[in-house]
Symmetry: D2
Subunit: 302 residues, 4 copies
């Protein structure tokens, strides 16, 4: 069975879940999305693209962009990055302040506190971090029209009290160098990037293909790419990382916009989108789609 057939079979199998879960509604820009949207797309290293559903419609990547900022920071700082942020699973909800208060350093780069530290690293590394980040992301996904959504970014800032608490706590612990408002604004801006499933799959192919990783000046060794995959595997799904690893068996990253990107090393990347989330903040149909995909193909990293 080829991937197109499998994707069609899987998308039919998950269809009954369409009404389950709840769209992220903490900002209007996310709440107003059509909750029944669904797309899945595989980008294969042999050059083939397989897609089902609304795969040309862009959505808010949100936390998925943390993979891109991690790649950029690792390219700049190398292993020294891990003196600023840990790489252990958090074991608690993605926005927990408890761990931060007790340990004084974010547990990993994919919880909000960790990604805020990444934003600070980028701000202190470039005179034009917003342009640099966008260039990198555009080259990764192969599209010049991918962009920040300023309405989403501003909307997040206006109601983002929890993240404001986190950035202030980080500043108190001397874990960020720049001004708290500047860091927060850049963090929300990165999260606001929008792609469609085809673009997202393409962006993640770079982490799967074991070829030279060099995009808009961001270059990584193969070892570094693999290590980013490892961080996705252990920390990519908030406090459901174990569940995703167990059911799907691929490194990946989810976002509250309802997207999930994952990859099967040396074979393909896959992006899925469905806005309704489970109680842990991960796309209900997205999780199930990927579980059925690896069950069907018997292709997982384990």
């Amino acid at each position: 069975m080829d991937y197109q057939t499998i994707l069609e079979k899987v998308s039919k199998a998950v269809a009954p879940l369409t009404g389950e879960g709840k769209v992220a509604d903490y900002i209007p820009a996310l709440a107003n999305v059509n909750p029944n949207k669904y797309a899945v797309c595989i980008d294969s290293i042999d050059g083939n693209l397989y897609a089902v559903g609304d795969a040309d419609e862009r959505f808010s990547l949100q936390s998925i962009t943390k993979v891109f900022s991690l790649a950029m920071c690792l390219s700049i700082k190398g292993e020294e990055l891990w003196t600023r942020v840990g790489k252990e699973p958090s074991g608690t909800a993605f926005n927990s302040l408890v761990q931060l208060e007790v340990e004084g350093m974010p547990r990993n780069p994919f919880i909000n506190a960790g990604a805020i530290v990444l934003a600070d690293v980028l701000l202190t590394s470039f005179p034009d971090p917003e342009a640099r980040f966008l260039s990198f992301v555009r080259e990764l996904c192969g599209s010049d029209t991918v962009d920040y959504n300023l309405e989403v970014a501003h909307s997040e800032r206006e109601t983002g009290y929890l993240n404001a608490a986190i950035v202030n706590l980080l500043k108190y612990h001397k874990k960020i160098e720049r001004d708290v408002e500047e860091v927060l604004a850049f963090y929300f801006k990165m999260c606001s990037i929008e792609m469609n499933c085809k673009e997202l799959a393409r962006a993640f192919l770079a982490f799967a293909n074991h070829c030279r990783f060099d995009y808009a000046g961001v270059s990584l060794t193969l070892s570094q790419v693999k290590r980013i995959n490892s961080v996705m595997q252990t920390c990519g799904f908030y406090d459901e990382a174990g569940e995703f690893s167990y059911l799907v068996g691929l490194p990946g990253k989810s976002g509250v916009g309802g997207g999930i990107a994952a990859l099967y090393p040396r074979r393909y990347s896959v992006a899925v989108w469905s806005p309704r989330l489970n109680s842990k903040g991960n796309s209900v149909m997205g999780m199930k789609t990927l579980e059925l995909l690896t069950t069907e193909t018997m292709e997982s990293i384990f």
Copy 2:
């Protein structure tokens, strides 16, 4: 370079670490081991065995045995097992009671609380759980002389106040059915099993070879085997799971006896032993050996 050459190269490279770390000394039976012992062994699915060092000398497996009890429990209970124990990384030290008190269920089967629940599952499933467990383990590793070390088991029970606290807390939360002393005695007995690196590598080959898993009546589907690997990946190294995954990139499990077993799916399993532990309870030379092995071979799951 073949695996034998690589193992010899790696074992030389890690030799300078010989004095680093500290042997587990909470019971005499573990404290009295020669701290300078070192062995590494690869068992390949193509039938070849590669070994360096004291690969015929047995040591206490301790927490590594939790992989065997998980396999046995999953074979008995199937997915229903996860109503008794979680599968998320703990994010805290391996013996933390905090998480257990707050959530009322062990976070995963590889923290002590989780493995104690597995012991209870086995006790309630068989009239002769000790004999059953031993038969299974012996078939897995292909040796009839592998056995419990009763001196170690008794010694653990005498000083095992933290585990006694855990089992009582589990009983309070109605998470175990059997008597607390019975559960604790069986838990310590399972941990006391001893193997050498050749036997240990062989035992883990069953989780790597994607062949039929059926040993002494314990049978698992391929999907179940992969899922056990996933739990090893996210939870196998106490609160250093992220670090091991990052540096080594293979599913594995460590024990305070200084052993680590890991596997590269569809290729080989590997066992390493060196008694001196880092502050997280994992073998210093064992961790480094595996890191260098996957760096040298460029073979990791990512």
Copy 3:
């Protein structure tokens, strides 16, 4: 209005609460008590006794006895006692293991962990601690027939998994010297002492009258007596210490048997009993009785 008139007025005012709350039912010996029992008794330093209700019927003192063991331990160890147990409010439920795990020492002598340390102190101080403790308590309350209830003590031990967890955790942290079973048995035995409200009020009068404190060889300075009162004030009501202090304004101690003893320094002691407990483990009618008493008399320490 004299105290007898006030007690009668108050007891009528609280009568409508008779059905509220829930009798402690974790052991049969406590669950079988008549839930509608009610008594209140004031013992005045001028020699008068005022009582309403079932004031001659004995009930299980449970945690109230921790005041007696604190008095005995302070008499033996003096200020050095506070190297074994803290004296700060716990801020968490009375049986929390979290605080103990994080700080390694019980927060105060009135949480279970702290009282278990007191039991260990008594066991290591006397060849005959059970007889000594009973003599002290009998002299305090002026009754030779007050005694341990062995059925209650054994019943507690059989189901006391949480306390067994605590004592094992304390042993792990090297905070108790004696055998865990011995400490636990003595702890439950002390808790099992029974008194009626007249006896209980008399026992607490010794902490109110600012006279010489010397009972069965247990002697305290006035300063020590006042300090015990202070510990009652800040820690005497589990995680409702602030509430009791706010509403009642007297130092006191409650127990899950439904009793509360309190005192107004240099004036009187008061004991109240009603078995139904609120969600924090304190007697519903007992709390209200004391609140109304101090409102009526306008006599509180503030």
Copy 4:
């Protein structure tokens, strides 16, 4: 021995502690105080004032002002206030976010989170809260020149990342109505009020004298005054409330400016000032002065 003689004796006895502890240095305005300053003052309800040392020199009240805002809020809201903030001891450091995150409501009005809620209550109750608060405080202490120190207030805001984290977290939990910056600015302004020991003792006399409490429109019943004293007793000294209650036995409140105010109901109030703090944030010489005072007088609430 009269109070003047006692104060002189006590101030000599504590003199050897002069160099112990560390002045709060997180803002320059506090760090620049002369660390050797010392004053103690008793204001008696019979109209006498007793003072030793620098009792006419003003210092920053900081957290002591939380007693004034509690009085004002309780006067406005009555018992309904406790739906916005708890009244239980926190059991953790005064600035802990952990408790707030887990429980969603500040534990008591004297931890920073609780006092920030009080600031929000005042902001929503008056069109001119700053003027109102100042009028109240001036009438309490009987001085028209007592004022905010704007330099201190601004300095706090510039570096107050932890409090900014707290106010954002409260806003996230919908526990404050007003804008986070507005609340924070008012909170810091209240903390910046300065008094000398004579003024501070006078201000606290209102909580001791059991007379009519009615100052600049803020009126409280005697029962409410007593309840404020109770909250001071159980929560007034960060995570050293038990220690202060144990050693001193009076309700009181401390501040990081090195001041402590306490009171002996129906007799006197006492204010002490010495800038060097212990590790818990309380004045070293202040604590000792009050301990010796109550030891000398044998006058405590217990």
